[in-house]
Symmetry: C2
Subunit: 270 residues, 2 copies
């Protein structure tokens, strides 16, 4: 195959297979090209990925030599994207009873969800995450987006135990918003003990739901290495019970009477 | 920018932006290259995409000239992928009470989910789908995967009405598996009237859940153009109430006593 075709094929391979290790001879064989030519292809792709803020190719030396695509969102790309998101969220028509914001339209856009996932995955790139955990329902697409860039599976905690999942571990927790005791459940076979976990959710007020997930994950001896929430919002009535987390946006003031919302960049820029 | 860099940049653009129309002059300007050179780049990319069974570039003539990437899974790629999926599903350890199969591990793999989405999106490529609709919880990742290739949003029907979504339309339906009357709800603002809809779900027995979604969507004057389910299974006690659908796999025999499952290719190959 000629270089031009190889560049297209290799670019496709890396984008579809982030964090998958491949040695150069396997590419050599597949594309019927010298190892030196493949190596030059990789230099070209690496340079372009870095220029466009898409991440980089991680090369390993040695007799075989290997390569892996590490997707990243550059700081500039990330901030530009989240600023636009803030503007969209400040639309007063989004205000819902209880100080919530209507975000389902934004969370329904696959390309937006993917960019959010790219930013979290960049932040958590070095944490050796084994699995992304979320709770049904709205965090699910975000969790898959993060996981697709980290090349790890997703595990979904449910609020309703389903009979179709086998034996499960469940805990009760107090939801910050409703102040009700709720249940969370995770099938035993869904998570290996001692996994490095990243928790992803769409929204956090006091943090009761995330705290519940942390408690549930303790039952699996999991190491919670990172917590990512799309939006954090102050809860005037309750102090936050989750301290270490990454947020993309911060909703600081939902004034139903004045029909006004204030949305700023979250702590991901720190 | 040189051709080599342009090929990488353009390949990335098309893969990240399926079904987005771009005119050639915008690429010309962005990459500081003659329109004829860009046109040659597109020929190279189109050829490689077709050779690898990834879809094709749809070119439009005219003074400006335009291009759009239509992602498709070739028939051979699709069948090879689903055959492997069948093998994994036939593992007797997956048998759960009630004749269900444990599939959460497979549905938790972002790359597997993406391939499933690619196959459905190929099937429904010409149906002018406006939105992908699914019901919480397990169909959600599949719905996003399909939607990402069709470049349309996802709308999630919920079984539990949430206060945080504004006014809603709800219907009651009879679930085939539990025979209970259940509720489905969709916020009014989440779906425009008259939309062309594709329904996606993970599992279908008699089809009560999907039939419920069809009824709910009628309230929005939606046109259900396609129904896609990952797995269909026979329900011995009840006749199927959904007739036109596309399935990737067909589970024909879950024998708990003999510890045996039979899984075949679904009707997507027809």
């Amino acid at each position: 195959m000629k270089r031009s075709g190889r560049l297209v094929a290799l670019t496709n391979f890396f984008l579809e297979n982030p964090r998958v290790h491949k040695n150069l001879p396997s590419f050599s064989e597949k594309y019927n090209a010298a190892k030196a030519s493949i190596s030059e292809d990789l230099d070209i792709i690496d340079q372009l990925f870095q220029d466009e803020g898409l991440g980089y190719l991680k090369r390993t030396a040695g007799s075989a030599g290997g390569v892996m695509y590490i997707p990243e969102s550059s700081r500039n790309n990330g901030i530009a994207f989240v600023k636009k998101l803030c503007e969209r969220l400040m639309d007063p028509n989004r205000i819902l009873p209880g100080g919530y914001l209507y975000m389902s339209d934004i969370l329904g856009e696959p390309s937006t969800v993917r960019e959010i996932g790219r930013i979290f995955a960049s932040k958590f790139s070095d944490l050796e995450i084994d699995v992304v955990v979320t709770v049904a329902t709205k965090g699910i697409p975000l969790a898959y987006a993060v996981a697709s860039f980290l090349n790890v599976p997703v595990v979904i905690v449910r609020r309703d135990p389903k009979v179709t999942e086998g034996s499960s571990v469940s805990i009760n927790y107090v939801s910050g918003s409703s102040r009700k005791i709720q249940t969370m459940v995770l099938p035993k076979r869904s998570l290996a003990e001692g996994s490095n976990v990243c928790i992803i959710d769409d929204f956090m007020k006091a943090g009761g739901t995330i705290n519940g997930m942390v408690s549930l994950l303790k039952e699996f001896d999991a190491n919670v290495r990172a917590i990512g929430v799309l939006a954090e919002a102050d809860d005037e009535e309750e102090e936050r019970i989750v301290n270490h987390y990454t947020s993309l946006v911060k909703i600081s003031n939902v004034d139903i009477k004045q029909n006004f919302i204030s949305v700023q960049l979250g702590n991901f820029i720190e």
